[in-house]
């Protein structure tokens, strides 16, 4: 027998206590939706996990109204310290239920349990802990002595990091004093619904967090709802454009975190073995379903052959298969639709003359799978060097000088992330200054921390999430004055009333 064919080590699903069907979480309760309910499936087996309600326009109305009530009557009147207590409580509950959440996320999304257990869920807890600490310190956020919450936030999140993106959205919103209506992606609603249970468990006041499920139509109704003060979206650039159009001229604040085509730049003096690891985690982490993935490898020409050779050897040790097996490195592609897109772009890559390579690996017969793939001989004009593939596909390009590296790295409509690999710190800093990307990692890749702002340039979106910047996206600086004609339903009215009382 071969030792490297590690015996199966499946994580048990016994800890999961799922319902057969889930309603919408509105005003602290699960209620029926008025749209046609749909099933969420496990992308690794195509088996149905649970039925999920679909919110239509009337459900969106109810959810926004619940959020507005909670904002006016409870959340905006509560002290920052008390809001912080709820957030700390949520963070602790996430930690307590970490294994359950990890299993659910892996099941619903298709990503390896190793990642949900070691990355997604610990970061979710970290995000809530971090913003819980901010809740009573808003006057130190650099936005004046009394920054104000915006009101009701409409949040639409993607399927690649379902619960983590929820945390990125909800934690700062709540810490700043807003209430939220959040819509998870239609292929990955499960952990958001478990999170709704956590909100109940934490005794969070009804309506502060509302979670409505559904597809694009639901999202459209939510972001264009009249009584929403803030829209936050993470997802594809085309949908982001549509949202920007819908929100234009309404006075809603908007943050968009969209696509990317990150350049991972490797110089010939880099620590080679660690660079190989960084390239692997840059593009094969989460099956490449990462908006900030290092999907373009820019390698200095004189080490191209050796680096590619080492990379191939390393890829041969990656294990593709059952996401719930603790030894799985590459899980399933999230949906058939996404798989089709990855396949189509990869075929275009071949047609355009790039050289395609994948390690020998057995693809399971059910579910959606795509072997880790490297394209060499890629030119900047190839579509696989320009379009976001959002899959485990790496395009390898070369450069000769630091000048050329910067030019090629910046030559993209996107600007979310970049990586630099060199042992020479002066070069690293000089280069980082010139890369037009929201995040530049040096000698590492795909590392996230709640204290660090994250966001893009150009078509990768605007606004920042994480850190103090992420908080500012949910606050109005205290220099701002409420319009005199503001109606009774104005988000600030509760706040103003409270201030009047305080005086």
């Amino acid at each position: 027998m071969s030792f490297l064919e590690y015996a199966p080590a499946p994580e048990s699903t016994a800890i999961l206590n799922l319902r057969d069907s889930y309603g919408l979480f509105i005003d602290g309760e699960f209620v029926d939706g008025h749209g046609a309910a749909f099933a969420t499936i496990s992308p690794s087996t195509e088996k149905r996990i649970a039925e999920v309600a679909c919110a239509d326009a009337s459900d969106v109305d109810r959810a926004v109204a619940a959020a507005r009530r909670a904002y006016d009557r409870t959340w905006s009147r509560m002290s920052g310290g008390d809001r912080g207590k709820y957030l700390f409580r949520i963070a602790r509950l996430v930690q307590e239920r970490a294994r359950e959440l990890a299993v659910a996320e892996s099941l619903d999304n298709g990503k390896p349990i190793k990642e949900t257990r070691d990355v997604d869920i610990p970061l979710v807890a970290a995000w809530f802990f971090y913003y819980a600490g901010w809740a009573d310190k808003l006057e130190y956020a650099g936005l004046g002595s009394a920054p104000r919450a915006l009101g009701v936030a409409a949040q639409v999140i993607p399927w690649n990091f379902p619960l983590l993106m929820l945390a990125w959205k909800i934690a700062p919103a709540l810490a700043a004093g807003n209430t939220v209506v959040l819509k998870p992606a239609e292929t990955t609603p499960l952990t958001a619904l478990l999170f709704a249970e956590i909100c109940q468990q934490a005794d969070l006041p009804a309506g502060v967090v509302n979670i409505i499920t559904g597809a694009g139509e639901t999202g459209r109704a939510l972001v264009s709802h009249d009584d929403v003060n803030k829209v936050a979206f993470t997802g594809s650039t085309p949908v982001g454009r549509e949202i920007a159009r819908a929100v234009a001229g309404t006075g809603k604040k908007l943050t968009l975190e969209l696509g990317g085509k990150g350049a991972n730049i490797v110089f010939d003096d880099a620590a080679m073995d660690q660079a190989v690891e960084g390239i692997v985690s840059g593009i094969f982490f989460n099956q490449g379903h990462v908006c900030c993935a290092g999907s373009r490898l820019l390698v200095q020409e004189n080490i191209h052959d050796e680096l590619v050779d080492r990379l191939k050897t390393r890829l041969s040790t990656l294990r593709l298969g059952d996401p719930l097996d603790k030894n799985t490195d590459i899980g399933a592609i999230n949906s058939r639709e996404q798989l089709d897109r990855i396949r189509a772009l990869s075929e275009i890559g071949e047609q355009e003359g790039a050289e395609r390579w994948s390690p020998a690996c057995e693809i399971p017969s059910n579910g959606f799978w795509f072997a880790p793939t490297i394209f060499t001989n890629v030119s900047t004009s190839h579509r696989i060097a320009r379009d976001e593939i959002f899959g485990p596909v790496l395009s390898v390009l070369t450069f000769r000088t630091p000048e050329e590296a910067v030019a090629k790295a910046n030559n993209t409509p996107y600007g979310l992330s970049a990586g630099i690999w060199t042992e020479k710190a002066s070069r690293m800093l000089a280069l980082a200054d010139r890369l037009r990307a929201g995040v530049v990692w040096a000698n590492t890749f795909n590392k996230f921390d709640p204290a660090s702002p994250f966001g893009g340039y150009k078509e990768s979106g605007y606004g920042r999430e994480g850190g103090r910047h992420g908080l500012a996206a949910y606050l109005e600086a205290s220099g701002w004055q409420a319009p005199i004609e503001s109606s009774a339903a104005s988000p600030r009215s509760g706040r103003k009333a409270r201030k009047a009382v305080a005086k």
Binding site: F3, A7, A271, N443
Partner: protein, 337 residues
Amino acid sequence: MTIDHPVALAPAERAVRLLGGDLTEKALRLHLDGLAGVDAVGLEARAANLATRSIKTSSKAWALDTIIRTCDLTTLEGADTPGKVRSLVAKAVMPDPSDPSCPRVAAVCVYGDMVPYAVEALGAHHGDPDQGLVSVAAVATAFPSGRASLDIKLADTREAVAAGADEIDMVIDRGAFLSGRFGLVFDQIVAVKEACRRTDGSYAHLKVILETGELQTYDNVRRASWLSILAGADFIKTSTGKVSPAATLPVTLLMLEVIRDWNRLTGERIGMKPAGGIRSSKDAVRYLVTVAETVGEQWLVPHLWRFGASSLVNDVLLQRQKMTTGHYSGPDYVTVD
């Protein structure tokens, strides 16, 4: 900057092949200084990642047997006696008296003066661990500090080989290495290798101990690994077990990467031995995973991979018994030595 006076080095075969015929200290230094750096954060992250592999059921059973089969059962104490060594040998030959299917360890590792007792006690079981027999390994060259003249180190080595040691575990001169005298360290390894030569022309296997806990930086560990291999090491070994930290997973991973690179370059296979500080089966299994995913599982045989440990075997035996019987026993169900 001055131009080094070209100091000729002992013409070790591997170094001559790689660095050219006029082997000088300068050529060696240029090679070692030209090696790619090691990023400590990345190296440790990779080791931590390898440590998350979950080895269960049949894989675990194979791993436990492999740990025993590749273990150098060790006693290196000032208080060692012939009796203690005989007792160690008995354990090496039959690690688990309650289970005859339990494999033997690869070698017993003792001080040079204990070699005759080990050889005598092993009797017919003495031989090649790849054939299921047990080797005798001796530490030499003024182990563990290495602070003695070259003549004494060589005499120490020759004596152990003459007494029947199959393997010599030497220490490098860390003082010389840290002060940049790479040539001196190199020449000493070449000389000790020559002292491993038996009268029939064959050689005792040479394991070169870097004492990574004293080299401090990963860059140093990488240079010392290359230097040792170039000078003729059959194995590179992390530690004496007398300095803390001894073996760690990141250091072992790094040394295995050098071994992998040497193999890519020349096709030759160099052995690896982490020693000291590996006490639990769980820990040891992580090392096996690291070997398999870095150089390949073909390295998990006694002539290419060893654990240097004294207490590890007992924990492995407890785990092994648990796998057969389904429940844990306790320390009284394995022998003290």
